[in-house]
């Protein structure tokens, strides 16, 4: 079943074209890796799918679970099951992780006509997820990402993903800033939360190393705003050996 279908997507920031006719189809049960040089437009793709203001779609379409994704507000996209793991998670002074995530989860549940979780129910869920990702439960009480190291921020993204339990995750360089142990924990987390026949993942990464833990079904090379090559997991190894210049040319 098709989950995400991107067709001829063009998008610009401040009038500067960044995505230039990108097409991609992701079916339920699949993990797709997107690799590509710096500045290729990988993060832009994530932001456009998430609905970030200032990222203007000028052409093309995106359907998600049969609905027009671009027609939805960012929070409606989340409620529809989309999760965007940020390359640079944002610090929010004065708002605790617990409050933020409980608000987020209950807002999503409300949109889906589900009952809100009580404070106690939520805390139990959050503690379990933190534990599975080896994050100190004390960090749940701290303001969102404030004073977290780069690796802790990425781990916190995964805890959030575990809590909201999305259908579709776009993970933007979730592996950067992680040491080798954290990489394994995060990789296991992605597999545990997202490897399911009714879910799918778009894994944006620079390096092969995360793909050793999270085996992609497809690998795509994004360069200059387009998918220039697609293949299986072996394409990632080829990229690692030969660099983008050779493969994308």
């Amino acid at each position: 079943m098709t989950m995400l279908k991107i067709e001829n997507l063009h998008a610009e920031i401040d009038g500067k074209p960044i995505l230039k006719g990108l097409s991609l189809t992701v079916n339920a049960g699949e993990i797709h890796a997107i690799m590509g040089p710096n500045g290729a437009g990988k993060s832009t793709l994530g932001y456009v799918l998430g609905g970030r203001p200032g990222y203007e779609v000028t052409e093309g379409s995106v359907s998600f679970d049969g609905q027009d994704l671009l027609d939805l507000e960012p929070h409606e996209r989340a409620a529809a099951g989309l999760f965007l793991g940020f390359q640079y998670p944002v610090e929010i002074p004065g708002v605790s992780n617990v409050q933020f995530l409980r608000e987020a989860l209950n807002a999503q549940r409300a949109t889906r006509d589900e009952k809100p979780l009580s404070g106690a129910e939520f805390l139990k869920l959050a503690r379990e997820e933190a534990k599975k990702l080896d994050m100190d439960a004390e960090m749940l009480k701290r303001p969102v990402n404030v004073g977290f190291s780069g690796g802790e921020k990425k781990r916190n993204e995964m805890v959030q993903m575990g809590i909201v339990n999305p259908k579709f995750a776009i993970l933007d360089e979730t592996d950067s800033g992680l040491d080798i142990d954290a990489l394994r924990i995060v990789g296991d987390g992605i597999n545990r939360i997202m490897r399911a026949p009714d879910k799918a993942v778009l894994l944006i990464t620079h390096y092969q190393r995360l793909l050793d833990y999270v085996k992609p079904d497809f690998v795509h090379v994004l360069a200059d705003g387009r998918i220039v090559r697609s293949g299986g997991a072996e394409l990632a190894h080829e990229l690692e050996r030969e660099g983008y210049a050779g493969v994308a040319a």
Partner: protein
């Protein structure tokens, strides 16, 4: 009735941002009946002041010594509230909680009040302004050695104009903490002069002004360190929506003898729309050479990245804005020590946010 000619104008430097037109308009409206707000602290001593008069049968001041007293000020607005008023004397080492309701049905009301604390006396004080018209208060505090005041003032359910002039004298090792919340449609002017007259005195004077529509709110605070080893903090947060204006003027003055003074000013404004205005005027006048004075003054908008981050997790934009604004205001309200009072003030700020966003 006070003649218009006796009031300050915007040409006076100290009143250049003041909403004096709102003050005049508030005076002109006929009085209506006003409701007395419910107390936050039902067990506290309670003073209910309606239209400038202490109403005995609504008050409950069993353990308080209240006497008539003449109270004067030369402040441009405060002096109009001068005259025969009340003086509360708190005995040395006494511990007292007082909640004051200041209710104005309309037109002018002028309320002089003086509170004197004996050595090591402790006072928790909550004040709530409600009603309409022009409420003008003059409040003097005199803190003897080691006395402590924890005061929280809020303007809620009020329209018209509220002006409050505080004159505070803080003795040796005494501490005065005041947090003010302006969360009504009334335009306001919070004026204060605090003098640290004893060694090691402590003053904290700040709050949150939330403005919307065409409203204007402002504070004008001057803290004067006269003796060594004093500490003062002025932390104000202003949130301005629509075409409103919030102005924060805060001055610290350190006399030549006031060595080792530690002064802090943090003035921050948040614009919810670009049509709103926040004016900031931090001032330092330092005549001693061994002092530490930190100050920061910034005006900005909500962090667009944080907003999108929250939205992308499922939180609708108005709610995300409310959460971020709430966090901004919390810096000031967190200074309220009493949990019940703090929660009530936070709830007032939340209610304001619900309306404004």
């Amino acid at each position: 009735m006070i003649a218009t000619a006796e009031l300050p104008t915007n040409r006076d430097e100290a009143f250049r941002w003041a909403d004096l037109a709102a003050l005049q308009a508030a005076r002109a409206l006929p009085a209506e009946s006003a409701t007395v707000p419910d107390p936050i602290l039902p067990d506290a001593q309670r003073l209910v002041i309606v239209d400038g008069h202490l109403v005995d049968h609504l008050s409950r001041a069993v353990d308080l010594t209240i006497e008539r007293a003449a109270i004067a000020s030369d402040h441009a607005l405060g002096r109009h509230a001068g005259g025969q008023g009340h003086r509360i004397a708190l005995a040395p080492r006494s511990v007292t909680t007082i909640e004051i309701a200041r209710v104005n049905a309309g037109e002018d009301s002028h309320t002089p009040l003086e509170i004197a604390l004996g050595e090591d006396a402790v006072l928790t004080l909550v004040e709530t302004y409600t009603g309409a018209g022009w409420s003008n208060a003059l409040t003097r505090f005199d803190l003897a050695r080691g006395a402590r005041v924890m005061r929280a003032v809020r303007v809620v359910d009020a329209e018209g104009f509220v002006s409050a002039r505080d004159e505070v004298v803080i003795g040796e090792a005494a501490s005065f903490v005041c947090v003010t919340l302006g969360a009504a449609t009334a335009s306001t002017r919070f004026d204060a002069a605090l003098t640290l007259t004893g060694e090691g005195a402590f003053a904290e004077y700040g709050g949150a002004l939330l403005t919307a529509a065409e409203q204007r709110q402002e504070c004008a605070v001057r803290v004067r360190h006269a003796e060594p080893n004093g500490q003062s903090h002025q932390l104000w947060r202003a949130v301005a929506a629509d075409r409103s204006t919030a102005s924060l003027a805060a001055a610290v003055e350190v006399a030549r003898d006031a060595q080792k003074t530690d002064g802090e000013q943090s003035l921050r404004g948040l614009l919810l729309q670009r049509t709103a205005t926040v004016n900031l005027k931090p001032e330092l006048e330092i005549f001693a050479d061994d002092v530490k004075c930190a100050h920061g003054a910034t005006v900005g908008e909500l962090d667009a990245r944080a907003l999108f981050y929250m939205q992308s997790r499922g939180i609708a934009k108005p709610r995300a804005q409310a959460l971020l604004t709430r966090a901004f205001v919390a810096d000031a309200l967190d200074r309220i020590a009493d949990e019940t009072v703090r929660e009530a003030f936070v709830a007032d700020a939340d209610a304001w946010l619900e309306r404004a966003l």
